[in-house]
């Protein structure tokens, strides 16, 4: 219930939703970096494909008249090299060599890595252990040196070398795919597909491959770039056939000639660099595109915020009532990607008197948690909070700095969360986390004694042992007791509990509710209990506030709300509660052999 998931009404799809539907590729085209990289890559592919048309000479043809010919010589677009060969023709051939190297290297890596990654991740167990061992071993080999050593065995063609090099690229893909698949395998929708009778192959291709696709494309692009680099490097060092021009051999030749004709070195380097830049940009842009519309929204939000900073209004009215919490016309809104605002709380007014337990009830998206968090000052940064008045024990909470708010939270207001486990740091003992808030005013020994007393007070059977335990060593119910102990340690005036028992079993819930009732009686604190459970409300609350879609629907004494709700919505809610008298009595229906015949 902490999520404020917007309820989507079915009729009519709004624009934003339609935009979100556009695939990652369409989004890629809309990004400047994505478009640029695609243009570069497409240009390279076209140049490579049109090589026979675009070049006037065979890349190996040498003309004595054109030794070191300058660029622009008629028919020799980029001039001739030291042997009188056409640099333009050689560049075009090199583009093809590079692209083929990329395809072979990255392709072999992709095929081996993803097939075995899928198997290891999906099958798990022994298959995973064996495959992981093999690929880890492969990872330890110095691939470049091995390719050089193996060069005489596998022949000197660059294709063969790239195929071997591709094998050494496979572990990267393997690990990526395996880890992703392991994550997806435990998703409920994969279980549902298994129950639906889909074959393993179908599950892999429909559900698993989809999740794996994006990250694999990105890393394959980077592998392609590294394959091109390695091929060029090997050729530069002189490995491979001298008959095949490539960026490596071209730079190698030009390097020998660098003092006389430096420009000959520039051409192959320039094209090689452009090709790699294209690939890297593409990988980065695709990653951003996959991150989806959310990434764009976040950016827009921030910009929006800086434009209008202070919306909060403070209208002092002088009168300080006898109430503990006085809240008038609370408004909480979030800026939307399209520039509009989504109001999650609109004009809520609320009073809590000392020693009173107020239940704040509503369904998900009603704004009840947003209300509680705005009192605590814990809403996310992009939230805009405004109120005519927000006073706690007479002091205004509006415009209070973060440090002051932190002080208030430690002393006057306390908070009990919904998920006890996720609110304890797993790497520190329970005791040390409780000590943190206390050690300021007292000595360590004193603080420890206070906490042990508190732990005993909240019904923890062996306080000393729990004090030294890590959060994972205690149960959810115990963790909630620990958090309650922490919350009441400072004897707060107002305790805000956000669905404090929702994550707990009913028997534990009953105990926690007992504990809250006792502590409230002892300390005389006011309690704001946010919940969707009317049983909990009936058990604990004096007064009830019903919320819906950010508005206050109705408020009143607990008996009044349960027995004589005045608003239609409250009546609907109360009627939805499953009453305890009705027990299903109708006998099972046997439709006979044609079970499910209605469909």
């Amino acid at each position: 219930m902490t999520t404020n998931e917007p309820t989507v009404l079915l009729p009519g799809i709004d624009e934003a939703e339609a935009k979100k539907r556009a695939g990652a590729f369409a989004r890629l085209l809309r990004m400047p970096l994505g478009l640029l990289s695609i243009i570069i890559l497409v240009a390279f592919v076209i140049l490579g494909l049109l090589e026979p048309v675009l070049s006037n000479h065979d890349p190996l043809f040498a003309s004595l008249q054109h030794i070191n010919a300058p660029a622009g010589t008629s028919g020799w677009l980029l001039g001739g090299d030291q042997y009188g060969r056409d640099i333009w023709a050689r560049v075009l051939t090199s583009i093809n060599v590079s692209l083929i190297s990329a395809l072979i290297g990255a392709g072999v890596g992709l095929v081996f890595g993803s097939i075995f990654g899928l198997i290891a991740g999906y099958a798990g167990g022994r298959a995973d252990a064996v495959l992981s061992w093999i690929f880890n071993l492969l990872m330890t080999f110095p691939s470049l040196i091995l390719v050089m050593v193996l060069a005489p065995v596998i022949g000197t063609t660059y294709q063969g070398m790239m195929a071997i090099f591709g094998l050494f690229l496979a572990p990267g893909i393997f690990r990526l795919v395996r880890n992703l698949v392991q994550g997806v395998r435990n998703e409920l929708y994969v279980d549902a597909a298994r129950v639906a009778g889909l074959s393993t192959w179908r599950i892999l291709s429909r559900h698993v491959l989809y999740v794996v696709r994006g990250p694999v494309v990105i890393s394959t692009v980077f592998l392609a770039s590294s394959a091109i680099g390695v091929q060029a490097g090997l050729a530069f060092l002189g490995f491979g056939s001298t008959q095949t021009p490539s960026f490596g051999s071209m730079t190698g030749d030009a390097f020998a000639n660098i003092y006389t004709e430096p420009m000959q070195f520039v051409w192959p380097s320039l094209f090689l660099a452009l090709l790699n830049i294209g690939l890297i940009f593409f990988g980065n842009a695709y990653r951003d595109a996959l991150a989806g519309p959310q990434a764009v929204v976040a950016k827009k939000r921030r910009r929006h915020e800086t434009s209008q900073e202070t919306v909060t209004r403070y209208e002092p009215d002088g009168s300080v009532g006898g109430g503990l919490l006085k809240l008038r016309n609370l408004r909480v809104s979030y800026p939307q990607p399209d520039g509009s605002e989504k109001n999650v709380v609109e004009g809520l007014s609320l009073d809590i008197h000392p020693g009173e337990i107020v239940g704040l009830v509503g369904e998900s998206g009603s704004g009840k948690t947003q209300t509680a968090f705005s009192i605590l000052g814990l809403l996310p940064k992009e939230a805009r909070v405004g109120a005519d008045e927000m006073r706690l024990a007479g002091d205004s909470l509006i415009g209070v700095s973060q440090t002051q708010m932190r002080k208030l939270r430690g002393g006057v207001i306390s908070y009990i969360p919904q998920e006890p486990m996720s609110n304890l740091d797993p790497s520190f003992t329970v005791g040390s986390q409780l000590m943190e808030g206390l050690t300021k005013g007292m000595s360590k020994a004193e603080a420890k004694r206070t906490i042990l007393e508190l732990l005993e007070r909240v019904g923890i059977p062996d306080p000393a042992r729990t004090f030294d335990s890590y959060p994972h060593q205690i149960s959810g119910g115990m963790a909630q007791r620990v958090l309650i102990a922490g919350a009441v340690a400072s004897r707060p005036k107002l305790l805000i509990a956000d669905e404090p028992t929702t994550a707990l079993d009913v028997t534990v819930q009953a105990e926690i509710l007992d504990l809250l009732r006792e502590l409230q009686g002892e300390l005389g604190m006011g309690v704001l209990l946010v919940t969707h459970n009317f049983g909990v409300v009936a058990d604990l609350c004096d007064r009830v506030v019903v919320m819906r879609n950010g508005h206050l629907v109705e408020e009143g004494g607990v008996r009044e709300i349960f027995h004589h709700p005045s608003q239609e919505y409250t009546q609907e809610l109360i009627n939805s509660i499953l009453d305890e008298e009705t027990v299903r009595m109708d006998p099972p229906v046997v439709v006979g052999s044609q079970a499910g015949g209605a469909l």
Binding site: Y189, A196, G197, E363, D539, F562, R584, P588, L599
Partner: protein, 282 residues
């Protein structure tokens, strides 16, 4: 005639670490379900109720005992033969957010079980639209993604997927626990309606006694891997015999301040008596 018969089922997960004893999650569980019947399976977290459901679905491998479906032993059916059972046993999971693949359109999600059984193309589409209509979703839902739906609507999609193959048994694992109160009531009505119409049986797993009372013909209460009590819904939820069931019933708060006060006091009395009897025994 029984549809599902689980006999003395045992299941333990392999222990982590060397020579550690593997903890038994199911310690000899026996239940049975007749055609068209709902068996409510109640228990707290860690009681093994979800594991029992997964064992019936073939998603967890039992270490002992047997599961029989329509007279046929399905305890440890190999994956391939298991696929044939998809037509008869289906599932609705608790979390409608993770049980639907976010990348697929509703039509593809619903067509999945149909395609697996060889129904394709126009016929599949026709059946998908009929299914959507059956669970109360508009036909234009077919070309949308799960994220465009609320929790209750997603759960309707999940129910439609389970119904696609006209199964004889649906394992429902906490299907209404994640839903809002008003939505919960509507989804439960849908479950009841579908059962009356199609005669499908439910193994309805939940921790919520109020839910179980409304939907079950019979109720089984599970505690620490064992069934502690089985009986008709009226008997188990109104006159429980087992002390754990009694404690469970008294712990569930009722939505009436005065009656809840009575119940709370009854629970305290029971706790005091239990403490006193254990003191005299010790």
């Amino acid at each position: 005639m029984t549809l599902l018969e689980v006999n003395d089922l045992r299941l333990s997960y392999p222990a982590r670490g060397f020579r550690k004893k593997s903890p038994e999650v199911l310690k000899g569980v026996s239940i049975d379900i007749a055609p068209g019947e709902t068996l409510g399976l109640v228990g707290e977290s860690g009681s093994g109720k979800t594991t029992l459901g997964r064992a019936v679905l073939g998603l967890a491998a039992p270490t002992g005992g047997s599961i029989r479906f329509a007279g046929q032993d399905i305890t440890n059916t190999p994956t391939k033969e298991r696929r044939g059972l998809a037509r008869d046993i289906q599932v609705v999971f608790q979390d409608p957010y993770t049980s639907l693949n976010p990348a697929l359109q509703i039509a593809d999600i619903l067509a999945e079980p149909l395609i697996a059984q060889g129904v394709e193309g126009k016929e599949a589409r026709k059946r998908v639209l009929a299914l959507l209509d059956r669970v109360g979703l508009p036909a234009n839902s077919a070309d949308r993604y799960p994220r465009e739906f609320s929790g209750g609507q997603r759960q309707r999609v999940a129910i439609a997927r389970a119904l696609a193959l006209k199964p004889k048994l649906i394992v429902c694992d906490e299907p209404v626990s994640a839903l809002d109160l008003t939505t919960q009531a509507k989804v439960m009505d849908l479950f009841l309606e579908l059962q009356r119409e199609t005669g499908v049986a439910y193994l309805f797993i939940t921790h919520d006694l109020a839910v179980v009372r409304h939907i079950s013909h019979r109720v089984a209460v599970m505690y620490r891997g064992e069934i502690v009590e089985t009986g008709t819904a009226a008997q188990v939820t109104n006159h429980p015999r087992d002390p754990y069931t009694q404690a469970l019933l008294l712990a569930a708060p009722t939505a009436d301040p005065d009656r809840q006060k009575e119940r709370r006091e009854a629970r305290w009395k029971m706790m005091r008596e239990a403490a006193a009897s254990s003191a005299t025994a010790g």
